[in-house]
């Protein structure tokens, strides 16, 4: 079966190390959670895996081949949902999906019915022909998710996909991720929301300052670190400051100005 393997991925920006020697595998039907605080290198890793960013060192192999040897072929099998849904603001949602679908060379009738289907299921039919500039962040995120799934990819990378989504859409997304995995898709799910990761993912990778500090199933990590929840595991692995103390100091600072 096709397996995605990131091998010692590293990235430096102007000499600053952002990601260091990240190694993991992603199998069909598996959902790997990718956790880490802000600036830990999650998005950089996701972009490197998607082939949007060249690693400073290391490789990504899919199906036993280095993806950079034929990025076009790899991307045919990839769906990517980025953290920031940057889209062409002057296109309508429908036009954007048409652009992506046509570039992916999806047959016109299939593309048309898929676009109508996605827009309908995401409750975007009423806004389908409005320009994206008038969309809320959640609406843009739904367009991005539609564009990523339209071509039935084998691997899907979700980079904080719940940003801007309402409660219903977040719940739907959670089920969608589970369903996609059950249909054999390999999923890398990067998120801040521990509750979602805990419910959705089979395995988690925890990243801290560019290093992988944990790579195991949630149950194993819980028992290994003697914590009852993922939040506890995460706190022990990456949180250096006491969040309660920090919150108290912030509240004090806020009342000082008043």
């Amino acid at each position: 079966m096709s397996e995605l393997r990131a091998n010692k991925l590293s990235k430096h920006f102007s000499g600053v190390r952002v990601v260091k020697d990240v190694t993991f595998t992603l199998k069909p039907g598996e959902i790997v959670g990718y956790l880490g605080p802000n600036g830990s290198g999650k998005t950089t890793t996701a972009r490197m895996v998607a082939g949007l960013l060249e690693p400073s060192s290391g490789t990504v192999h899919y199906d036993g081949r280095d993806v950079r040897e034929d990025l076009v072929a790899f991307r045919r099998r990839l769906g990517y949902i980025p953290e920031e849904p940057f889209l062409y603001p002057f296109l309508s949602g429908r036009e954007y999906l048409q652009l992506v679908g046509r570039l992916r060379e999806m047959p016109e009738p299939v593309l048309g019915s898929k676009i109508d289907g996605f827009l309908g299921l995401f409750s975007l039919s009423h806004a389908a022909d409005q320009s994206i500039s008038s969309y809320s962040k959640g609406m843009r995120q739904k367009i991005v998710i539609s564009a990523a799934l339209m071509h039935d990819p084998e691997i899907v990378i979700f980079d904080e996909p719940e940003t801007g989504l309402d409660v219903t859409s977040t719940m739907m997304l959670r089920h969608l991720v589970r369903l996609l995995a059950s249909r054999g898709k390999a999923i890398l799910y990067s998120s801040h929301i521990l509750e979602v990761v805990e419910k959705v993912c089979d395995r988690i990778l925890v990243l801290h300052r560019g290093d992988v500090v944990a790579d195991d199933s949630i149950e194993s990590l819980r028992s290994l670190m003697s914590k009852s929840s993922l939040e506890g595991v995460f706190a022990q692995l990456v949180i250096r400051d006491d969040p309660e103390q920090l919150a108290r100091e912030l509240a004090d600072l806020s009342s000082l100005s008043a």
Binding site: Q98, R102, P107
Partner: protein, 577 residues
Amino acid sequence: MAWRHLTKLFLRQFLENDLVSPDSDRAHLLAVVGAGLVSLTLFASMFLSAAYAMSVLTPGQAAVMTLNDKFFYVSMAMLITALVAAAQWDALALDQRDSAILDPLPVRPSIIRWAKLTAVAIFGAAVALAVNAFPTFVFPWMVSFSLRQMRATEVFWMMGIHASITLAAAAFGYLVVMAVRESLCAVLGPQLFTRMSPTFQASTIVLLGSLLFLVPPASTRIAQRGFSGWWAELPPMAFVGAYEEVSNNFIVDLPRRRVTARMAARDREGTALYEQRRPLMPALARRVQVLFGGVLSILVAASIVSALRAPVGGALLVTNERRRSRAGELIANAVIVRTQAARAGFYFALATLFRSKTHRLTLACAAALGLSMSFVVLTRTDLQSGDLRPGMLAVQPLLYGCLLAAFRHLVRVPPELRANWGVRLAWRAQRRAFTDGVCRAAMLSLALPAIALVFVPMAFVAGVQMALAHAALGVAGAVILLEAMMLGYDKAPFTCNYIPIAGAKGIVPLYVIAFLIGVSAFARLELAIMTGDNPLRGILLLASLFAILRIAALRQRELPVDFDEPPPALQTLGLHT
């Protein structure tokens, strides 16, 4: 305090509403635009005034000669400021974005409106000063070189008058654009105006740009023809009249020096002509007050109506619905673009060219240049004889040529670079098909409308048959030009990082010369085909040219598209990794 902060915010909006690159550095942009304006006006004033520095003139001659230059400076001040205002069309009034951000803040709406007004006034004043600063010093100073009898106080006096009149002309141009915008908003209502605004903005830029390009040829023989007929009704003539009135026509009244008989005769001739025009000056000068009164009244009335028609609390939601023509799409898919990649390029290009602000404004400027060049060519062509002339045939390639040249530049400019990840992920190395789709969009939306525009007057002048032949040859010419321009282009249009042309200062003038020679040659070839004995030879020439270019394009090696290629300077310095 809030007023000051808001004024700063609105001024910053003017700069960030930029025409060059949405991601460029603000200080860099300001430097480029400012330097462009100042160097343009410095160059123009030095160039125009060179004639004064190199000759000795009599007061009669100088009085007539300076009328031309005064018309030029007044028109340039008026049109450049108006053009800048048109380019900043959306930032001239409070918009939805301002309402969305500022309405929730504890700031009185009147303070917001005053801050906007102040920012608009400061911006207009800054542009007017930048446009007029150098001519104000250079022009009177250079005039004094040729008129030795001018005293230093008179030179300074003339500088003061020049500054006042050209600044007033600039203010008038700025106010006219504001009045037009507000009037349209008042008449159409906020909802419809928001939808139509880009079209009005582009039309205003095309009109003002065309007029700007026509200023140099129009600024000749003003004393001879500028004071009668429709010329006298032009707003710049009113300011020229005011210039002469305020300066009390002092140049023509300067004391005469001993000169040769020939120069004395020229002086008498110039003086006689000027004296004929002198009685017309007070009436022209009074018209300035009428013009200002009129434009201010319209602006105030339109602003009041707009404010009354605006939704309470600025809660206007303009959905900007993109209307789809299913029939049009079906026809285009069946006839023009038949592969999915070509369709992607075709529809994306149509959307980008007319919806991205940068692209739309560049096309508007190109259309203005093409129209004004066509006008200049036509004024030098005998249209009365009924015979076909190369000048008549040159209009069509000039128009579509300017538009396609702008298009060729624009394919390198991404409308939103940060959004190109979507294209990169979906990209299947179908560069040629995608680019073909983009080129067909350019043919359909730029070249064909230009050809259609020329068809009607051509049918009127030379008959329908000739007009049809001219249009067919125009299509052939546009296809060849597009093919030639896209040769060697190995990126994905509108999606890759913008890389400036290396050595553009040296190359662009050569392109311009080549373009003008090409247009002239093509017009002559067309004339030979349409009126010659052996039209087949010309048609064969065009067909072989197209075939050569097409083969060269097909033989071009397909390399992977580098969407994020850094500029050459960064590559050379190794700063891109």
